[in-house]
Amino acid sequence: MADENKIKFPEPKSDRDAYIVENSHVHQIYDKIALHFDSTRYKTWPIIEKFLLELNTGLIGIDVGCGNGKYLGVNKNVHLIGSDICSNFAKISNEKGFEALIADGLLLPYKSDTFDFAISIAVIHHFSTFERRVDALREVVRTLKPGGIFLVTAWSITQKWRGKNYDHQDVMVPWLLQGQFSTSKKENENNNNNKNSTTTDSNNNSENSNTNSSSGGNITEKGGTKYEVYHRYYHLFEDGEFERLFKEIPGCEIIKNDLDHDNYNCFVRKK
């Protein structure tokens, strides 16, 4: 039932509560689904690829929340350092021969005024309060040198392209973990050969799902295949939201902010 996509999630009351929510509903989930995620996330978005390919040789930049590292190797003529709070993503990226650290987006282990460019793709929507979203963006801006460009993207609340409709900005989005990627269950091993059944956040319609909203590991059945269901927290962006966030951060300006395929792609320059 599609309703499970519409679980409204109350905004955490303190920063520490937010830390705990993100830890249990984002970090731990991604660590569990990292291998499955990697097998489905190989396509790069043209806008991001174009941005990376147009960079001059010898520039140095960071990818904050690099996931499985799909952008780290796009341009071999720049040095791009990936980081993720999920150690399994850092491991996957490192095994592909890319630079990857385990680091918190709110506490980046980099010098200030250092990088020519930065990207953070589909990451900022996993921070659960306005203040933490500002802090995460401010932290990236801190590490950029003056004139450095930051490309940050987020899911939008209007999901026309994905054919979905969200009522609330703060939602839980299910991930159906295929048995072959499970680290906790063995019973699904016979059901993992159907590649077409790989369903993920962006294209699943979970009308056959029959689960509740807890964050971890309930079994659901869909098309004869069993999955473990994990719920990830998202804060879906609306028009003007990046503008409001960056207004809190002195010393930078939005150059461009486009809505494309249900994603906001926001380009920011440090002054």
Binding site: Y19, N56, S87, K91, L101, L108, K111, T114, R142
Partner: protein, 127 residues
């Protein structure tokens, strides 16, 4: 982690912003990579390097960059040595120590773990 990445890094703690670098590197295992020399890449990258950090680690990998770096920016042998150090040297196992607060970060399987513990994060916020 390549030396070029290491050269950009700092302590994760908020209180160490501006003074948590260069991190002290202890390397117990490293790997030599085989990426082809790229002259344009290294020349463009040079103004971005923190030379204190480079000087501190070059001898650990038996790479002699000489004393006068400014005079050698057109010297191809120097540039090749520098490329070997920053691009083709990867730290597999070791430790990074903050020069300001002495916090230690461990490198395992080529990946530095720069996360702070929950109590360290909220200690920073209270201060």
């Amino acid at each position: 982690m390549k030396i070029l990445t290491y050269n950009m890094m700092s302590c994760s703690k908020k209180q160490c912003v501006g003074k948590g670098h260069p991190l002290k590197l202890d390397c117990t295992e490293s790997q030599t990579l085989t990426q082809d020399f790229q002259l344009e890449f290294i020349k463009n990258m040079i103004p971005r390097l923190d030379w204190d950090g480079i000087r501190a680690v070059a001898p650990m990998f038996n790479i002699n960059l000489g004393d006068n770096i400014e005079g050698q920016l057109e010297n191809e042998e120097f540039l090749k040595n520098l490329f070997k150090l920053v691009v083709n040297t990867k730290i597999i196992k070791g430790k990074l120590t903050c020069p300001s607060c002495n916090r230690e970060y461990f490198i395992e399987n080529g990946i530095p773990n720069m996360l702070l513990r929950e109590d360290e994060i909220y200690q920073d916020i209270k201060e």
